[in-house]
Symmetry: C2
Protein backbone atom coordinates (compact mmCIF):
# COMPACT_ATOMS: atom_id res chain seq x y z
CA UNK A 1 0.00 0.00 0.00
CA UNK A 2 1.39 3.38 -1.04
CA UNK A 3 0.52 6.52 0.91
CA UNK A 4 0.71 10.10 -0.30
CA UNK A 5 0.97 12.79 2.39
CA UNK A 6 0.03 16.19 0.98
CA UNK A 7 1.25 18.86 3.36
CA UNK A 8 -0.13 22.40 3.36
CA UNK A 9 1.44 24.96 5.70
CA UNK A 10 2.31 28.59 4.88
CA UNK A 11 5.42 28.54 7.12
CA UNK A 12 6.41 24.91 7.09
CA UNK A 13 10.08 25.42 8.06
CA UNK A 14 9.02 27.06 11.34
CA UNK A 15 6.30 24.56 12.15
CA UNK A 16 7.22 22.39 15.13
CA UNK A 17 4.35 20.01 14.33
CA UNK A 18 5.27 19.56 10.67
CA UNK A 19 8.96 19.05 11.46
CA UNK A 20 7.99 16.47 14.07
CA UNK A 21 5.68 14.61 11.66
CA UNK A 22 8.25 14.69 8.86
CA UNK A 23 10.86 13.14 11.16
CA UNK A 24 8.26 10.60 12.34
CA UNK A 25 7.65 9.14 8.90
CA UNK A 26 11.26 9.32 7.68
CA UNK A 27 11.75 5.55 7.86
CA UNK A 28 8.57 4.54 6.03
CA UNK A 29 9.36 3.30 2.54
CA UNK A 30 5.87 3.30 1.09
CA UNK A 31 5.11 6.88 2.12
CA UNK A 32 5.56 9.87 -0.23
CA UNK A 33 5.96 13.19 1.60
CA UNK A 34 4.72 15.99 -0.63
CA UNK A 35 4.77 19.63 0.48
CA UNK A 36 2.52 21.71 -1.76
CA UNK A 37 4.59 24.06 -3.91
CA UNK A 38 3.41 27.64 -4.52
CA UNK A 39 2.82 26.88 -8.21
CA UNK A 40 1.04 23.61 -8.86
CA UNK A 41 1.86 21.21 -11.68
CA UNK A 42 -1.68 19.89 -12.13
CA UNK A 43 -0.75 16.93 -14.33
CA UNK A 44 1.93 15.82 -11.85
CA UNK A 45 -0.44 16.18 -8.89
CA UNK A 46 -3.13 14.15 -10.65
CA UNK A 47 -0.66 11.43 -11.68
CA UNK A 48 0.62 11.16 -8.12
CA UNK A 49 -2.91 10.68 -6.77
CA UNK A 50 -3.42 7.78 -9.18
CA UNK A 51 -0.30 5.91 -8.10
CA UNK A 52 -1.09 5.99 -4.36
CA UNK A 53 -3.71 4.07 -2.39
CA UNK A 54 -4.11 6.23 0.70
CA UNK A 55 -4.22 10.02 0.27
CA UNK A 56 -3.58 12.09 3.39
CA UNK A 57 -4.21 15.83 3.56
CA UNK A 58 -2.09 17.26 6.36
CA UNK A 59 -2.46 20.82 7.63
CA UNK A 60 -2.90 23.16 10.59
CA UNK A 61 -6.51 24.23 11.19
CA UNK A 62 -6.91 27.92 10.32
CA UNK A 63 -10.39 29.44 10.61
CA UNK A 64 -11.97 25.97 10.82
CA UNK A 65 -10.41 24.73 7.56
CA UNK A 66 -7.15 24.00 5.75
CA UNK A 67 -4.89 26.89 4.68
CA UNK A 68 -5.59 28.55 1.32
CA UNK A 69 -2.87 26.55 -0.47
CA UNK A 70 -4.77 23.31 0.13
CA UNK A 71 -8.05 24.87 -1.02
CA UNK A 72 -6.24 26.00 -4.14
CA UNK A 73 -5.02 22.42 -4.62
CA UNK A 74 -8.58 21.07 -4.29
CA UNK A 75 -9.96 23.69 -6.72
CA UNK A 76 -7.17 23.28 -9.28
CA UNK A 77 -6.18 19.60 -9.21
CA UNK A 78 -9.54 17.96 -8.55
CA UNK A 79 -11.24 19.18 -11.69
CA UNK A 80 -14.62 17.65 -12.47
CA UNK A 81 -13.22 15.94 -15.57
CA UNK A 82 -10.41 14.33 -13.61
CA UNK A 83 -12.23 13.52 -10.40
CA UNK A 84 -15.85 12.57 -10.96
CA UNK A 85 -17.20 13.17 -14.45
CA UNK A 86 -16.70 9.97 -16.41
CA UNK A 87 -14.13 7.68 -14.80
CA UNK A 88 -13.46 8.03 -11.08
CA UNK A 89 -9.70 7.43 -10.80
CA UNK A 90 -9.68 7.87 -7.02
CA UNK A 91 -12.71 5.72 -6.19
CA UNK A 92 -11.99 2.96 -3.70
CA UNK A 93 -8.83 4.64 -2.38
CA UNK A 94 -8.59 5.96 1.18
CA UNK A 95 -8.80 9.62 2.22
CA UNK A 96 -7.29 10.71 5.52
CA UNK A 97 -6.72 13.99 7.33
CA UNK A 98 -3.90 14.89 9.70
CA UNK A 99 -4.95 18.11 11.39
CA UNK A 100 -3.05 20.11 13.99
CA UNK A 101 -4.45 22.82 16.21
CA UNK A 102 -3.25 24.98 19.07
CA UNK A 103 -6.62 24.65 20.80
CA UNK A 104 -7.22 21.90 23.38
CA UNK A 105 -9.48 18.95 22.49
CA UNK A 106 -11.99 19.73 25.24
CA UNK A 107 -13.05 22.95 23.49
CA UNK A 108 -14.34 21.08 20.45
CA UNK A 109 -17.71 19.97 21.77
CA UNK A 110 -21.12 21.39 22.61
CA UNK A 111 -20.63 23.81 25.47
CA UNK A 112 -16.89 24.07 24.78
CA UNK A 113 -15.45 27.39 23.66
CA UNK A 114 -15.42 26.29 19.98
CA UNK A 115 -19.02 25.03 20.18
CA UNK A 116 -18.45 22.41 17.48
CA UNK A 117 -16.86 18.97 17.19
CA UNK A 118 -13.94 18.24 14.88
CA UNK A 119 -16.27 15.90 12.96
CA UNK A 120 -18.58 18.85 12.21
CA UNK A 121 -15.72 21.20 11.36
CA UNK A 122 -14.10 18.69 9.01
CA UNK A 123 -17.39 17.62 7.42
CA UNK A 124 -16.67 19.41 4.09
CA UNK A 125 -13.60 17.17 3.65
CA UNK A 126 -15.71 14.12 4.40
CA UNK A 127 -18.02 15.27 1.61
CA UNK A 128 -15.05 15.70 -0.74
CA UNK A 129 -14.02 12.09 -0.02
CA UNK A 130 -17.59 10.94 -0.66
CA UNK A 131 -17.77 12.81 -3.95
CA UNK A 132 -14.54 11.15 -5.06
CA UNK A 133 -15.85 7.70 -4.11
CA UNK A 134 -13.09 7.38 -1.49
CA UNK A 135 -13.22 5.85 1.99
CA UNK A 136 -13.04 8.59 4.64
CA UNK A 137 -10.69 7.61 7.46
CA UNK A 138 -11.27 8.94 10.97
CA UNK A 139 -9.26 12.19 11.06
CA UNK A 140 -5.97 12.13 12.94
CA UNK A 141 -6.11 15.29 15.04
CA UNK A 142 -3.16 16.62 17.08
CA UNK A 143 -4.02 19.19 19.75
CA UNK A 144 -1.36 21.45 21.28
CA UNK A 145 1.70 19.32 20.54
CA UNK A 146 3.88 21.91 22.29
CA UNK A 147 2.58 20.77 25.67
CA UNK A 148 3.09 17.02 25.17
CA UNK A 149 5.52 14.96 27.27
CA UNK A 150 8.36 13.09 25.55
CA UNK A 151 6.65 9.75 26.22
CA UNK A 152 3.39 10.98 24.71
CA UNK A 153 5.28 12.22 21.66
CA UNK A 154 6.95 8.82 21.23
CA UNK A 155 3.54 7.16 21.23
CA UNK A 156 2.37 9.76 18.74
CA UNK A 157 5.16 8.74 16.35
CA UNK A 158 3.84 5.16 16.41
CA UNK A 159 0.19 6.21 16.03
CA UNK A 160 1.07 8.55 13.17
CA UNK A 161 3.13 5.87 11.40
CA UNK A 162 0.21 3.47 11.75
CA UNK A 163 -2.20 6.09 10.37
CA UNK A 164 0.00 6.42 7.31
CA UNK A 165 1.00 2.83 6.71
CA UNK A 166 -1.19 0.29 8.53
CA UNK A 167 -3.20 -1.60 5.94
CA UNK A 168 -6.52 -1.69 7.80
CA UNK A 169 -7.46 -0.36 11.18
CA UNK A 170 -8.63 -3.65 12.68
CA UNK A 171 -6.91 -5.16 15.70
CA UNK A 172 -5.53 -8.06 13.64
CA UNK A 173 -3.89 -5.62 11.24
CA UNK A 174 -2.55 -3.59 14.14
CA UNK A 175 -0.78 -6.68 15.48
CA UNK A 176 0.49 -7.56 12.01
CA UNK A 177 1.76 -3.99 11.59
CA UNK A 178 3.67 -4.13 14.89
CA UNK A 179 5.13 -7.55 13.98
CA UNK A 180 6.35 -6.19 10.65
CA UNK A 181 7.93 -3.23 12.44
CA UNK A 182 9.64 -5.57 14.91
CA UNK A 183 11.00 -7.77 12.12
CA UNK A 184 12.37 -4.69 10.38
CA UNK A 185 14.10 -3.55 13.57
CA UNK A 186 15.45 -7.05 14.26
CA UNK A 187 17.09 -7.03 10.85
CA UNK A 188 19.01 -3.86 11.65
CA UNK A 189 19.58 -4.49 15.39
CA UNK A 190 23.09 -3.55 16.47
CA UNK A 191 23.96 -6.24 19.01
CA UNK A 192 22.73 -9.67 20.02
CA UNK A 193 21.16 -8.48 23.31
CA UNK A 194 19.01 -5.95 21.47
CA UNK A 195 18.05 -8.57 18.90
CA UNK A 196 17.03 -11.05 21.60
CA UNK A 197 14.91 -8.38 23.28
CA UNK A 198 13.09 -7.72 20.01
CA UNK A 199 12.52 -11.45 19.51
CA UNK A 200 11.09 -11.62 23.03
CA UNK A 201 8.69 -8.71 22.37
CA UNK A 202 7.64 -10.39 19.12
CA UNK A 203 6.89 -13.66 20.94
CA UNK A 204 4.89 -11.90 23.64
CA UNK A 205 2.91 -10.05 21.00
CA UNK A 206 2.13 -13.30 19.17
CA UNK A 207 1.06 -14.94 22.46
CA UNK A 208 -1.23 -12.04 23.46
CA UNK A 209 -2.67 -12.00 19.97
CA UNK A 210 -3.54 -15.72 20.17
CA UNK A 211 -5.13 -15.23 23.57
CA UNK A 212 -7.21 -12.41 22.16
CA UNK A 213 -8.34 -14.52 19.23
CA UNK A 214 -9.46 -17.20 21.71
CA UNK A 215 -11.37 -14.66 23.81
CA UNK A 216 -13.08 -13.24 20.73
CA UNK A 217 -14.12 -16.74 19.76
CA UNK A 218 -15.58 -17.39 23.23
CA UNK A 219 -17.50 -14.08 23.12
CA UNK A 220 -18.96 -15.07 19.76
CA UNK A 221 -20.04 -18.46 21.12
CA UNK A 222 -21.72 -16.88 24.16
CA UNK A 223 -23.58 -14.41 21.94
CA UNK A 224 -24.73 -17.21 19.66
CA UNK A 225 -26.06 -19.22 22.61
CA UNK A 226 -27.85 -16.13 23.96
CA UNK A 227 -29.41 -15.60 20.55
CA UNK A 228 -30.65 -19.20 20.50
CA UNK A 229 -31.86 -19.16 24.14
Amino acid sequence: MKTLVIVSHPEIENSMVQNFLKASCAGLEEVTWHVLPSILDVAFEQAQLKTHDRIILQFPLYWYAAPASLKNWLDTVLTGDFAFNGSQPLAGKEFGLVVSTGIAAKHFQAGGSEQATMSEILRPYELVARKLGMTYLTPFVIHQLGYWSETAKQLLVVDYQRYLSQQNFTLTDKVAWFQAQLAQRQAVAEDEAQQQQLVLIGEQLAEQSELLTDLNWQVQMIRQEEGEG
Copy 2:
Protein backbone atom coordinates in the same frame (compact mmCIF):
# COMPACT_ATOMS: atom_id res chain seq x y z
CA MET B 1 -26.28 50.81 7.79
CA LYS B 2 -23.29 50.18 5.53
CA THR B 3 -22.76 46.83 3.85
CA LEU B 4 -19.53 45.40 2.48
CA VAL B 5 -19.85 42.68 -0.16
CA ILE B 6 -16.59 40.73 -0.47
CA VAL B 7 -16.68 38.78 -3.72
CA SER B 8 -14.42 35.80 -4.38
CA HIS B 9 -14.54 34.17 -7.79
CA PRO B 10 -11.55 32.96 -9.87
CA GLU B 11 -13.23 33.91 -13.17
CA ILE B 12 -15.53 36.70 -12.18
CA GLU B 13 -15.88 38.30 -15.64
CA ASN B 14 -17.32 35.07 -17.02
CA SER B 15 -19.62 34.39 -14.08
CA MET B 16 -23.29 34.82 -14.99
CA VAL B 17 -24.27 34.78 -11.31
CA GLN B 18 -21.73 37.41 -10.24
CA ASN B 19 -22.61 39.70 -13.15
CA PHE B 20 -26.28 39.36 -12.28
CA LEU B 21 -25.68 40.13 -8.59
CA LYS B 22 -23.45 43.08 -9.40
CA ALA B 23 -26.16 44.58 -11.62
CA SER B 24 -28.75 43.85 -8.92
CA CYS B 25 -27.06 45.98 -6.30
CA ALA B 26 -25.93 48.80 -8.60
CA GLY B 27 -28.51 51.27 -7.22
CA LEU B 28 -27.79 50.69 -3.54
CA GLU B 29 -25.89 53.63 -2.07
CA GLU B 30 -24.87 52.09 1.23
CA VAL B 31 -23.37 48.98 -0.37
CA THR B 32 -19.65 48.63 -1.14
CA TRP B 33 -18.90 46.01 -3.83
CA HIS B 34 -15.42 44.65 -3.29
CA VAL B 35 -13.92 41.99 -5.55
CA LEU B 36 -10.91 40.39 -3.88
CA PRO B 37 -7.71 41.38 -5.70
CA SER B 38 -4.97 38.80 -6.29
CA ILE B 39 -2.65 40.66 -3.90
CA LEU B 40 -4.26 41.76 -0.65
CA ASP B 41 -3.63 45.07 1.09
CA VAL B 42 -4.21 43.77 4.62
CA ALA B 43 -4.42 47.21 6.28
CA PHE B 44 -6.99 48.39 3.71
CA GLU B 45 -9.07 45.21 4.09
CA GLN B 46 -9.08 45.53 7.88
CA ALA B 47 -9.99 49.24 7.75
CA GLN B 48 -12.88 48.50 5.37
CA LEU B 49 -14.26 45.86 7.74
CA LYS B 50 -14.30 48.39 10.56
CA THR B 51 -16.28 51.01 8.62
CA HIS B 52 -19.10 48.64 7.59
CA ASP B 53 -21.90 47.14 9.67
CA ARG B 54 -22.87 44.10 7.61
CA ILE B 55 -20.11 42.00 6.06
CA ILE B 56 -21.14 39.66 3.24
CA LEU B 57 -18.88 36.95 1.84
CA GLN B 58 -20.06 36.11 -1.66
CA PHE B 59 -18.74 33.15 -3.64
CA PRO B 60 -19.51 30.05 -5.68
CA LEU B 61 -19.34 26.80 -3.71
CA TYR B 62 -16.30 24.79 -4.81
CA TRP B 63 -15.62 21.51 -3.03
CA TYR B 64 -18.03 22.45 -0.23
CA ALA B 65 -16.32 25.77 0.57
CA ALA B 66 -15.35 29.18 -0.80
CA PRO B 67 -12.62 29.43 -3.47
CA ALA B 68 -9.00 29.63 -2.32
CA SER B 69 -8.85 33.43 -2.65
CA LEU B 70 -11.44 33.84 0.12
CA LYS B 71 -9.62 31.35 2.35
CA ASN B 72 -6.46 33.36 1.74
CA TRP B 73 -8.38 36.50 2.74
CA LEU B 74 -9.57 34.84 5.98
CA ASP B 75 -6.06 33.57 6.80
CA THR B 76 -4.31 36.85 5.96
CA VAL B 77 -6.72 39.64 6.95
CA LEU B 78 -8.33 38.13 10.03
CA THR B 79 -5.18 37.83 12.09
CA GLY B 80 -5.63 36.94 15.74
CA ASP B 81 -4.33 40.34 16.82
CA PHE B 82 -6.82 42.16 14.61
CA ALA B 83 -9.82 39.95 15.03
CA PHE B 84 -10.09 38.44 18.49
CA ASN B 85 -7.05 38.90 20.73
CA GLY B 86 -7.58 42.07 22.75
CA SER B 87 -10.26 44.29 21.21
CA GLN B 88 -12.87 42.74 18.93
CA PRO B 89 -13.40 45.36 16.22
CA LEU B 90 -16.02 43.27 14.38
CA ALA B 91 -18.08 42.21 17.39
CA GLY B 92 -21.75 43.12 17.10
CA LYS B 93 -21.62 43.50 13.32
CA GLU B 94 -23.49 41.15 10.98
CA PHE B 95 -21.94 38.35 8.95
CA GLY B 96 -23.74 37.07 5.84
CA LEU B 97 -23.00 34.60 3.06
CA VAL B 98 -24.18 34.75 -0.55
CA VAL B 99 -23.39 31.34 -2.02
CA SER B 100 -24.08 30.12 -5.54
CA THR B 101 -24.06 26.54 -6.72
CA GLY B 102 -24.82 24.66 -9.90
CA ILE B 103 -26.41 21.84 -7.90
CA ALA B 104 -30.17 21.83 -7.21
CA ALA B 105 -31.43 22.56 -3.68
CA LYS B 106 -33.09 19.14 -3.30
CA HIS B 107 -29.70 17.39 -3.31
CA PHE B 108 -28.58 19.16 -0.13
CA GLN B 109 -30.37 17.01 2.42
CA ALA B 110 -30.15 13.57 3.99
CA GLY B 111 -30.78 11.05 1.23
CA GLY B 112 -30.01 13.65 -1.46
CA SER B 113 -27.00 13.15 -3.69
CA GLU B 114 -24.90 15.60 -1.64
CA GLN B 115 -25.92 13.93 1.65
CA ALA B 116 -25.53 17.16 3.65
CA THR B 117 -27.50 20.35 4.20
CA MET B 118 -26.16 23.79 3.31
CA SER B 119 -26.22 24.61 7.03
CA GLU B 120 -23.81 21.74 7.69
CA ILE B 121 -21.58 22.59 4.74
CA LEU B 122 -21.37 26.27 5.70
CA ARG B 123 -20.89 25.54 9.41
CA PRO B 124 -17.19 26.56 9.40
CA TYR B 125 -18.26 30.09 8.34
CA GLU B 126 -20.83 30.17 11.11
CA LEU B 127 -17.98 29.34 13.51
CA VAL B 128 -15.87 32.16 12.03
CA ALA B 129 -18.72 34.61 12.68
CA ARG B 130 -19.03 33.30 16.24
CA LYS B 131 -15.30 33.64 16.87
CA LEU B 132 -15.48 37.26 15.68
CA GLY B 133 -18.45 38.00 17.94
CA MET B 134 -20.60 38.71 14.88
CA THR B 135 -24.25 37.85 14.23
CA TYR B 136 -24.53 35.07 11.64
CA LEU B 137 -27.27 35.77 9.11
CA THR B 138 -29.11 32.91 7.42
CA PRO B 139 -27.05 32.24 4.28
CA PHE B 140 -28.47 33.47 0.98
CA VAL B 141 -28.05 30.51 -1.34
CA ILE B 142 -28.69 30.62 -5.09
CA HIS B 143 -29.10 27.27 -6.81
CA GLN B 144 -28.75 26.88 -10.59
CA LEU B 145 -29.51 30.48 -11.59
CA GLY B 146 -29.12 29.49 -15.24
CA TYR B 147 -32.47 27.70 -15.13
CA TRP B 148 -34.49 30.50 -13.51
CA SER B 149 -37.38 32.28 -15.28
CA GLU B 150 -37.23 36.04 -15.83
CA THR B 151 -39.92 36.61 -13.18
CA ALA B 152 -38.05 34.51 -10.63
CA LYS B 153 -34.89 36.45 -11.40
CA GLN B 154 -36.71 39.76 -10.85
CA LEU B 155 -37.84 38.56 -7.44
CA LEU B 156 -34.29 37.45 -6.73
CA VAL B 157 -33.07 41.01 -7.36
CA VAL B 158 -35.43 42.26 -4.64
CA ASP B 159 -34.53 39.48 -2.19
CA TYR B 160 -30.83 40.04 -2.77
CA GLN B 161 -31.15 43.81 -2.30
CA ARG B 162 -33.01 43.19 0.94
CA TYR B 163 -30.33 40.75 2.11
CA LEU B 164 -27.73 43.45 1.56
CA SER B 165 -29.56 46.51 2.78
CA GLN B 166 -32.63 45.75 4.91
CA GLN B 167 -31.89 46.86 8.48
CA ASN B 168 -33.43 43.90 10.27
CA PHE B 169 -35.19 40.86 8.91
CA THR B 170 -38.50 41.38 10.74
CA LEU B 171 -41.75 41.93 8.84
CA THR B 172 -41.98 45.56 10.05
CA ASP B 173 -38.54 46.29 8.64
CA LYS B 174 -39.44 44.51 5.43
CA VAL B 175 -42.40 46.88 4.97
CA ALA B 176 -40.27 49.89 5.89
CA TRP B 177 -37.64 48.77 3.38
CA PHE B 178 -40.23 48.47 0.59
CA GLN B 179 -41.67 51.89 1.49
CA ALA B 180 -38.20 53.48 1.32
CA GLN B 181 -37.64 51.84 -2.08
CA LEU B 182 -41.01 53.18 -3.32
CA ALA B 183 -40.23 56.70 -2.10
CA GLN B 184 -36.88 56.55 -3.89
CA ARG B 185 -38.57 55.45 -7.13
CA GLN B 186 -41.30 58.11 -6.78
CA ALA B 187 -38.60 60.77 -6.60
CA VAL B 188 -37.14 59.69 -9.94
CA ALA B 189 -40.42 58.66 -11.67
CA GLU B 190 -40.54 59.83 -15.27
CA ASP B 191 -44.19 60.80 -15.75
CA GLU B 192 -47.21 61.59 -13.60
CA ALA B 193 -49.00 58.32 -14.37
CA GLN B 194 -46.03 56.29 -13.13
CA GLN B 195 -45.77 58.48 -10.04
CA GLN B 196 -49.47 58.03 -9.24
CA GLN B 197 -49.10 54.27 -9.59
CA LEU B 198 -46.20 54.26 -7.12
CA VAL B 199 -48.25 56.39 -4.67
CA LEU B 200 -51.09 53.87 -4.99
CA ILE B 201 -48.77 50.92 -4.27
CA GLY B 202 -47.39 52.82 -1.29
CA GLU B 203 -50.90 53.44 0.10
CA GLN B 204 -51.87 49.79 -0.35
CA LEU B 205 -48.71 48.70 1.39
CA ALA B 206 -49.40 51.03 4.32
CA GLU B 207 -53.01 49.77 4.56
CA GLN B 208 -51.97 46.09 4.50
CA SER B 209 -49.29 46.83 7.04
CA GLU B 210 -51.83 48.43 9.43
CA LEU B 211 -54.16 45.48 8.98
CA LEU B 212 -51.29 43.15 9.83
CA THR B 213 -50.44 45.14 12.96
CA ASP B 214 -54.07 44.83 14.07
CA LEU B 215 -54.08 41.08 13.45
CA ASN B 216 -50.84 40.64 15.36
CA TRP B 217 -52.36 42.58 18.25
CA GLN B 218 -55.44 40.36 18.26
CA VAL B 219 -53.29 37.20 18.23
CA GLN B 220 -51.36 38.51 21.21
CA MET B 221 -54.61 39.23 23.10
CA ILE B 222 -55.93 35.74 22.40
CA ARG B 223 -52.67 34.16 23.58
CA GLN B 224 -52.77 36.25 26.75
CA GLU B 225 -56.35 35.16 27.53
CA GLU B 226 -55.42 31.54 26.89
CA GLY B 227 -52.48 31.90 29.27
CA GLU B 228 -54.79 33.33 31.95
CA GLY B 229 -57.57 30.78 31.34
